[in-house]
């Protein structure tokens, strides 16, 4: 573990250097401690793949004491256990037609059919490593190695809400229409971020996710609320 200042008011806690599940378990354990601690001037905590950013209010920050509080708090932190005990959430995903604009190209890159991609992508359990980038965006690990695919060379200006994408060894869901460079292989009709709900994101880091394939017709009926 390395703790350093990433700006005049943010501490960066480095717990690894990759997107592995081992790094994720260390992040989860450290995040749980930070979240329940009372550290003066702390304003937010941003966990990611293998690091955590702790943001302080620059107007009331006492840097030396903040740094030593965080160091002391995390001194003997271990990794969380595996995800067997975490929630399993099933997300319906349509891997067809306009829901999956890049699935044919992804299949071609891996010399398989679009149906193979869907079967493979929905055949495993993923772990939510963290939520970041935009509200509710799920970064998930566990993508089968045969589906590891580089990002698009040119990102899309607008990715439809609910799009399920893959980029290198990650898979993710875009809850809002945003720009994005991941390859889109499906779309879920489920709302993954509701600002008025508490909590606004129904999923949290450490949750397990399984994608359940649905037809285009089913996608539209869920989307229209005829479920």
């Amino acid at each position: 573990m390395r703790i350093s200042w990433a700006s005049d008011s943010c501490l960066r806690i480095s717990l690894g250097s990759d997107t592995s599940i081992e790094a994720h378990r260390r992040v989860r354990a450290a995040y749980a401690r930070l979240r329940h601690a009372r550290i003066p001037a702390l304003s937010d905590i941003t966990p990611a793949y293998s690091s955590i950013l702790v943001t302080f209010d620059p107007l009331s920050l006492e840097p030396d004491s903040a740094e030593s509080s965080v160091t002391e708090l995390l001194r003997d932190v271990k990794a969380d256990p595996d995800e067997a005990g975490s929630r399993l959430i099933e997300l319906p995903v349509c891997y067809e037609g306009e829901c999956a604009p890049d699935i044919v190209e992804v299949a071609r890159l891996h010399s398989m059919t679009a149906a193979d991609v869907a079967v493979m992508h929905s055949g495993v359990e993923y772990t939510v490593h963290f939520i970041g980038f935009s509200p509710g965006f799920l970064y998930m690990g566990g993508l089968p190695s045969r589906l590891v695919t580089p990002r698009l060379e040119k990102p899309r200006i607008r990715v439809p809400a609910g799009s399920v994408g893959i980029a290198s060894a990650q898979t993710g869901v875009y809850p809002h229409a945003t720009p994005g460079g991941w390859r889109l292989i499906g779309r879920t009709p489920v709302t993954l971020f509701n600002a008025a709900a508490d909590p606004p994101s129904p999923l949290a880091m450490g949750d397990r996710v399984r994608f359940v394939p649905i037809s285009l017709q089913r996608f539209h009926s869920i989307q229209d609320g005829v479920a």
Binding site: A6, S7, S43, T46, A195
Partner: protein
């Protein structure tokens, strides 16, 4: 309590306060005023708490009609603003001043001449339902503020009641100097970024010595800078991680992007430097096509500067 009606919303007017905290782990950015210093000054001038919601007007100003008497102030970008009523000569609402506005009067905020954003603060604050503890509008996701969107013609927004003991007042000379520095600063002070070692000495020297132009593709999420491409040793992306306010990421094409309040909570481009807290408000006042430079300071200097700025602010524009 009263209502204000939007006659002309200008280019982009949104409700903003000092943003939301505690939701970064759900990917929710802090948001809030792009120039938090001016919002705080404007709020103090009308007797509000620093984090009262106000209207952030961008580049072109806007026009509003008030149905009840209250106290208003404009802080931030310099503009000519007039309070008008029928059959009377208009009154000027100067920058950094609080003025009484009467029921039925119209406030016309002209184009911003210096800076990019001006804050219309109203005694008692603009009233919108808080979302995750803040009134700030997050345009990219359509929540917060006024129905999650920018104001449009004929929108009607509630505002609070003026505290009775508050009256017209104006900024002191030193208070105005604080605002002027914020509006006119073109050398942005930065501290080393988390990935400074992903850049060779030559790239860092280029970043710290050459001018950059604010791209027209900039917004409340990020300021994109045009200039000499800055090459990182990692080339493109790294493992995504949390981004501090004012982080300066370098894209694979070598373009710097300064993250703004509505920007992503995490990012995967290497961060060459981070804007010092004291200069974060300056970013909100940069106009497209303006030229800026960066200068490096130490963490200790950055922290000393923000403390000193707070002392000046509290002395010149005391909290109500």
């Amino acid at each position: 309590m009263g209502l204000l009606r939007v006659v002309d919303s200008g280019m982009l007017t949104t409700v903003q306060d000092l943003g939301r905290s505690g939701f970064a782990a759900m990917g929710v950015p802090r948001g809030g005023a792009a120039d938090a210093l001016s919002l705080r000054i404007g709020n103090r001038l009308v007797g509000n708490a620093d984090d009262s919601p106000a209207l952030e007007m961008t580049l072109t100003g806007g026009t509003l009609v008030f149905d009840d008497s209250t106290l208003v102030s404009l802080a931030g970008g310099e503009t000519a603003a007039l309070i008008e009523r029928e059959d009377e000569l208009p009154r000027l609402l100067g920058p950094g001043a609080a003025e009484r506005i009467q029921a039925g009067e119209m406030l016309r905020v002209g184009p911003i001449k210096t800076g990019a954003r001006t804050y219309l603060c109203i005694a008692g604050g603009v009233r919108v339902p808080p979302v995750m503890g803040s009134a700030s509008t997050l345009l990219s996701c359509g929540f917060g503020g006024y129905f999650g969107r920018a104001l449009r013609r004929d929108d009607q927004i509630e505002f609070g009641s003026a505290p009775p003991r508050f009256r017209e007042r104006a900024l002191s000379e030193a208070g105005r100097a604080l605002e002027r520095d914020n509006l006119k600063r073109r050398t942005i002070r930065v501290v080393p970024g988390a990935h400074e070692d992903s850049f060779d000495k030559k790239s860092i020297a280029a970043f710290l010595s050459l001018p950059f132009t604010v791209s027209v593709k900039s917004d409340r999420m990020g300021l994109r800078l045009d200039g000499p491409p800055i090459k990182s040793l990692v080339g493109g992306r790294m493992v995504s991680e949390g981004m501090p306010p004012g982080a300066i990421e370098i894209t694979e094409s070598g373009q710097p992007i300064i993250l703004m309040p509505d920007g992503p909570t995490t990012g995967g481009y290497p961060v060459i430097a981070c804007v010092a807290s004291v200069d974060l408000p300056v970013l909100g006042q940069l106009r497209p096509r303006e030229s800026i430079r960066f200068t490096r300071i130490t963490l200790a200097e950055a922290r000393r500067l923000i403390r000193e700025r707070e002392l000046t602010l509290d002395r010149e524009v005391p909290r109500p």
